[in-house]
């Protein structure tokens, strides 16, 4: 019922193999680091896509929840807790705070919800910059331990000192996230999220509680965002208020939109490609953001469905061109 054509599966398999082999052909440690980071951003971005793209609720606190996860892991691991315990705890805290914020704010709609979540994000950012005892203030927290090694009976252990190991850690979590999101979204459970985005009064009339449904999407999204932030803190080894700022949110949002809203692959492509493109444009200096800002406006006006949406349109055109008189309407949209 929700299956994809075979050639898609083949494409995904090829991508997976490419990802697994990536450490062998990545040119230098700097680029490698950016790739690892973009995987973590891809986790956060996919979950932002869940709440914004699929459930249609413009949460602008995603960076804040990423930050909660990052600070959570930083504080807990520095206090001696194992990363493997701190990570799920930090994600749960993120989800819990998400519920506390979601319960009042999901009563609002559209602009209002966007602005309430944005304000929450700003508050959190200010708190992160000023609560020196807990967060280290504007300097943030340094010397966060790497994820602790995983002992494997009889074989030794997996440690995370090398970039390659960190890369596979990030990749594992990314695949896990995509697997979970894919299951949730492409099922009747996920359809209720899309029903919220598409026609809330009708969903309400057919027995779906809008508030609970939206809250669920919000909490799940924030759990995953917190998890991404937690891994980020541990791998980078430091966290500062900028990790929780609205600029982080804007970045995620840009990845979601440019990659292709409401498509799982779009989020990954956006989060993966844009940071790398930005790096490649580093030589432009301050002009980089100038171009980027203008580009963002152009893309949203002319390609509002982003990269993946654009590809689909192209694909439909090709199909229509090859089979001029196919059953009418079968290929309409998406």
């Amino acid at each position: 019922m929700f299956t994809k054509p075979f050639h898609y599966n083949l494409l995904y398999l090829l991508l997976l193999v490419a990802a697994l082999l990536l450490p062998f052909y990545v040119p230098d440690a700097y680029i490698f680091q950016i790739v690892i980071m973009s995987f973590l951003f891809a986790i956060a971005t996919s979950s932002m896509n869940l709440i914004i793209g699929f459930a249609g609720q413009a949460s602008l606190a995603h960076g804040a929840f990423f930050g909660i996860g990052a600070y959570g892991v930083a504080i807990m691991t520095k206090a001696g807790l194992s990363f493997w315990l701190a990570l799920p705890l930090a994600a749960l805290i993120s989800a819990g705070i998400g519920a506390v914020i979601g319960i009042p704010s999901l009563r609002t709609r559209g602009h209002y919800f966007a602005i309430v979540t944005l304000c929450f994000g700003v508050i959190l950012w200010i708190v992160a910059g000023n609560w020196i005892q807990l967060t280290g203030g504007h300097n943030g927290i340094f010397g966060i331990p790497l994820p602790s090694s995983i002992p494997i009976p009889f074989l030794g252990e997996i440690d995370f000192y090398s970039q390659t190991a960190q890369y596979y850690l990030a990749l594992t979590f990314l695949l896990l996230t995509l697997f979970v999101l894919h299951r949730l979204i492409y099922s009747m459970f996920g359809l209720t999220f899309m029903a919220m985005r598409n026609n809330e009064p009708l969903a309400d009339a057919v027995g779906i509680d809008p508030f609970t449904t939206k809250l669920m999407a919000f909490v799940i999204a924030n759990f995953i965002a917190g998890m991404a932030g937690g891994i980020y803190a541990s791998i980078i080894g430091a966290v500062s208020p900028s990790a929780a700022s609205h600029l982080m949110t804007f970045n995620f949002l840009i990845y979601v939109i440019l990659g292709g809203i409401a498509t799982l692959s779009g989020s990954v492509i956006g989060a993966f490609a844009i940071p790398i493109i930005m790096e490649l444009l580093q030589f432009l200096g301050d002009y980089r953001m100038l171009i980027f800002g203008a580009l963002l406006v152009v893309v949203i006006i002319y390609f509002p469905q982003g990269f993946v949406g654009g590809l689909r349109q192209l694909n439909q055109k090709v199909v229509a061109w090859r089979q001029p008189k196919q059953t009418e309407g079968a290929n309409v949209s998406r």
Partner: protein, 287 residues
């Protein structure tokens, strides 16, 4: 007592700025229902352009300000035409993204042209006045007085001129206005121009007191947004009242509770109020 008066004075001064900036934003949000998130950045640009005319041409404060206001008005018209109008029929989130694109562009523009370091417009009125035991800078009084005059002018414009009433008509009923032969696109462009121009006025008044920096628009823009949402989108009295209240809350909260957390009061107030009244204090019921 002196401290209290001093805080109130500062609160009114900040409130004046907030009121003008929010006023401009509420005009475009009410009429175009566009979340012009880049409004704070237009304010920032207004400040820089005034600085540019003063420093590059040697023109006086008032003349530079006038040129800056005109420039920003034109930029506003351009922005409506190029950024927001093409997005009229798309989901709101797209206009929001476009706004983020615009604000990144404006911030980078200021960075490229004027650099990251803070700049200051020479204070045209550096004198101080002692009154009731508190010190009031003349320029600060100018901010307060200028804002009051501007608000009065805008009020007269909206109520007494044809253009003003047209804008109001479009805000209340876009389709109806269109059916009555009003060129809605032209009204939108003009409104955007006015909105940006008022931001330039606020920035010009305040820039002799506070440093200009490329990122100064971000938080201000958000605060204006909050005021507009709480005051009711498109509500002029809501924006003015909201602006002054926010200025006072911040000054008193910052003075008596915690300076570092002063912005938390504004943002926290919004969350609390919207939680209880999901459509704002003066907000209309959703249709």
């Amino acid at each position: 007592m002196e401290l209290l008066l001093q805080q109130i004075f500062n609160g009114i001064m900040f409130g004046s700025t907030y009121a003008i900036v929010a006023l401009g934003l509420t005009l475009v949000m009410g009429i175009l229902s566009i979340p012009n998130f880049a409004h704070g950045h237009l304010y920032m640009l207004g400040g820089y352009i005034t600085f540019f005319f003063i420093s590059a041409t040697g023109l006086g404060f008032w003349l530079s300000m006038l040129l800056s206001v005109i420039t920003l008005g034109l930029i506003g018209v351009l922005m409506e035409r190029m950024v927001y109008r093409p997005l009229t029929d798309q989901p709101h989130i797209n206009a929001f993204i476009a706004a983020i694109g615009a604000l990144l562009f404006l911030e980078a523009l200021a960075l490229v042209v004027w650099g990251p370091q803070g700049l200051r417009i020479p204070n045209p009125y550096p004198q101080n006045i002692q009154f009731l035991g508190i010190t009031m800078g003349l320029q600060r009084l100018l901010v307060i007085g200028g804002a009051a005059v501007l608000i009065l002018c805008l009020h007269l414009f909206m109520k007494k001129t044809l253009m003003g009433t047209t804008i109001e008509a479009v805000a209340q009923n876009r389709e109806g206005a269109m059916l009555n032969g009003i060129n809605v696109n032209r009204v939108s462009a003009i409104t955007f121009g006015i909105s940006s121009a008022t931001a330039a006025i606020a920035a010009s008044f305040l820039s002799p007191i506070f440093m200009l920096s490329p990122s100064m628009g971000a938080i201000l823009g958000m605060k204006a947004f909050i005021i507009v949402i709480l005051g009711g989108m498109g509500s002029i009295p809501g924006a003015i009242l909201g602006g002054y209240i926010l200025g006072l809350i911040e000054a008193l909260g910052g003075g008596y509770v915690s300076a570092a957390y002063k912005d938390v009061f504004a943002f926290g107030a919004l969350i609390v109020i919207l939680s209880f009244k999901p459509t704002g204090i003066f907000g209309k019921k959703e249709a």
